[in-house]
């Protein structure tokens, strides 16, 4: 186990290296100067700016300068927000995104597993059909359609939830729901599928034969096994929530990392773009590793039992 974790960590280093290299070189090679404004800057000032940011000389020189800094843990200063280091922006914005993501994730898990299990129990009955139809709809409806519709409904017509912003707990409800729905739907489908499979396995029959109540069979035995594919799905789900949050944060004016990323890509801020890509990738790699370990542990426990 330790060997696997260690190997995965070692493997992550070249991967991150490649990803950051690609991003930085692409952004720098693309036309468009991060410092240009509608009014021309005197060439002397431009030169000075580029020097301050180590963005002068050949692109390879710039790249080496940047990588040198990254290795030392310095993500450089944003060219767009000139008084802020990229690390500082990420430090402020990442927890916000993480909060939103975590809430959405737990919502998706809770509702997904509950509805999925419920559908499995009522296999092929109306309830099952209805839930599965809703789940398919949840997968199919893009969050950027759902979000404006929900805002229209709950924030404008019913006026029960705030339309946008961040800072009080009620402001997280709509964005978290919008973000979580496709994943809740996928988890519901996964849960139903795997639970149906598990319920046909021998050990469930044994449990039933032993006279355990249907609830006990379901919750104490079957669900524990059926949860495995959901753990397996948590990696892709995290990736989906991460990209989904970019849209949700933009729509709801949430000070997370998503709007900064889109802005930096459009404004040719090489440090911000590379920094965000680095953080996103590291986060996902780490998350996948944790999910894999969890899978391994649960799987082994299930087998041992």
């Amino acid at each position: 186990m330790t060997a696997i974790i260690l190997r995965r960590f070692l493997q992550a280093i070249p991967v991150l290296f490649i990803v950051v290299t690609l991003t930085f070189l692409l952004v720098r090679a693309a036309p468009g100067n991060p410092f240009s404004t509608e009014k021309k800057i005197p060439p002397e000032i431009m030169e000075q700016l580029e020097k301050q940011y180590d963005l002068h000389g050949s692109i390879w020189h710039q790249y080496l300068q940047y990588m040198g800094k990254v290795v030392r843990g310095d993500l450089s200063i944003s060219t767009q927000y000139r008084n802020r280091t990229v690390a500082e922006i990420i430090r402020q914005a990442l927890p916000v995104s993480m909060t939103l993501g975590a809430v959405a994730y737990f919502l998706a898990l809770t509702f997904g597993v509950t509805f999925g299990a419920w559908a499995a129990i009522r296999h092929n009955r109306a309830g099952d059909r209805l839930i599965m139809l809703w789940a398919l709809l949840g997968i199919s409806i893009p969050s950027f359609i759902l979000a404006p519709v929900l805002v229209m409904l709950f924030a404008i017509w019913l006026d029960v939830l705030p339309v946008a912003g961040w800072g009080s707990p009620d402001q997280i409800i709509l964005p978290a729901i919008c973000l979580s729905i496709p994943f809740a739907a996928t988890i519901a489908r996964l849960t139903r599928g795997s639970l149906l499979e598990v319920l046909q396995l021998d050990f469930v029959r044994t449990a039933r034969a032993k006279g355990l109540s249907e609830d006990a069979v379901l919750f104490r035995h079957a669900l524990k096994v059926a949860i495995l594919p959901i753990i397996g799905y948590s990696g892709p789900a995290a990736a989906g929530i991460l990209t989904g949050s970019i849209v949700i944060e933009t729509l709801f004016g949430i000070p997370g990392i998503g709007p900064f990323f889109v802005n930096s890509a459009l404004n040719r801020d090489p440090f911000m773009t590379s920094g965000v890509v680095l953080v996103f990738s590291s986060f996902l790699i780490l998350f996948n590793l944790i999910a894999d370990i969890l899978y391994f542990v649960v799987d082994r426990r299930v087998k041992l039992e």
Binding site: Q11, V15, V19, L22, T23, L26, V27, A29, A30, P31, G32, L136, L137, I139, S140, I141, P142, F144, I145, A147, P148, V149, V151, M152, I156, E197, G235, P236, A239, L242, T243, I246, V247, T250, L251, F261, V262, A265, L266, T273, V276, V277, F280, S281, L284, I285, F287, N288
Partner: protein, 311 residues
């Protein structure tokens, strides 16, 4: 013919699937043929901006006075085109990759699957955004100079082809296709691993057929069913990715319009003063229905055709 037979069985068993299929065919037909009968062209402006749906404009109009029905159908064309060609790219890459990996086996297989795993754990869509926004202009220049080069060679047809391509569209189709092949590759590989041990493949080995012949003649036809299943599931994924990018303003740009750009125009108009609901509901609704039909179809086909799914 096994596939055709199975297909027939699916149709018999679940008429709703057929309805989904028919709906999709209808969307394609209307968006490519019906669009010529709306009475408007997609780039025709008028003074009637932001009109509600009426007899003259079934879906209403947008800011420029475009007929929204024609716009939505045009958006459908682009969205469907992006999804279809992107899927084709992902299909080619995924099937080739999966077949090679599964067929080669051993260390090659190990390495190739490790790479898939790594790409799985990367924020691919974020990378596509970086790539598309950066390569847009270089691609424009490249296509233009290639076109000029072809003209120089005396190939006006080819030149017209290159200059006619929208660089942004090309990049999006290409790179979205290159991110959505992972599932396909994994599943194909799994199938090839099984098929490889089958007697008829073993027999071909013994007969001394070349690797290419075995892959092409014996393995590929047997993978067709599963390829179709994952094809129907990749199309909505790419469609969603494209609209996601267009929505954020890093995807397609005018004069091209896709469902994503239309919905983006509308989503930023949701406000307490006046609701231009038709701008959101029509393109959004049609897109959701299309995605739903595709997902439903993919699901149903998977249940019927994927040997991994137990019935």
């Amino acid at each position: 013919m096994k596939t055709a037979h199975l297909f027939y069985r699916v149709v018999r068993r679940d008429p709703f699937l057929v309805a989904c299929g028919l709906f999709l065919i209808l969307v394609v037909l209307v968006s490519f043929v019906g669009i010529h009968f709306t009475g408007y062209t997609y780039d025709q402006i008028s003074d009637d901006s932001l009109l509600r749906p009426s007899r003259a404009h079934w879906f209403g109009t947008d800011v420029n006075g475009h007929d929204l029905l024609t716009r939505t159908l045009y958006g459908a064309q682009i969205s469907l085109f992006v999804a279809a060609t992107g899927t084709l790219v992902s299909l080619t890459v995924g099937v080739t990759y999966g077949m090679i990996s599964g067929y080669a086996g051993g260390r090659v297989d190990n390495l190739m699957m490790r790479i898939v795993e790594i790409i799985y754990s990367l924020p691919t869509l974020v990378l596509v955004i970086v790539i598309v926004t950066s390569l847009d202009d270089p691609m424009t220049t490249f296509l233009k100079s290639t076109g000029e080069w072809c003209t120089g060679l005396g190939l006006p047809g080819l030149a017209g082809f290159f200059t006619g391509i929208n660089p942004r569209l090309l990049l999006i189709v290409g790179f979205l296709g290159l991110t959505e092949w992972l599932t396909m590759a994994r599943i194909i590989r799994g199938q090839v691993l099984v098929l490889k041990e089958q007697p008829f493949v073993q027999a071909s080995f013994a007969l001394g057929q070349s690797h290419f012949q075995i892959l092409w003649r014996h393995l590929l036809p047997n993978l067709l069913g599963i390829v179709i299943v994952y094809l129907t599931l990749t199309i909505p994924a790419i469609m969603l990715d494209e609209s996601f990018m267009s929505f954020l303003g890093v995807g397609l740009q005018p004069p091209l319009a896709s469902w994503g750009t239309l919905i983006s125009d509308a989503a930023f108009l949701i406000n307490p003063i006046r609701l231009y609901w038709w701008m959101l509901i029509f393109p959004g609704g049609l897109m959701t229905l299309t995605l739903l039909a595709l997902n439903f179809l993919g699901d149903g086909l998977r249940d019927a055709l994927d040997p991994r799914v137990k019935k």
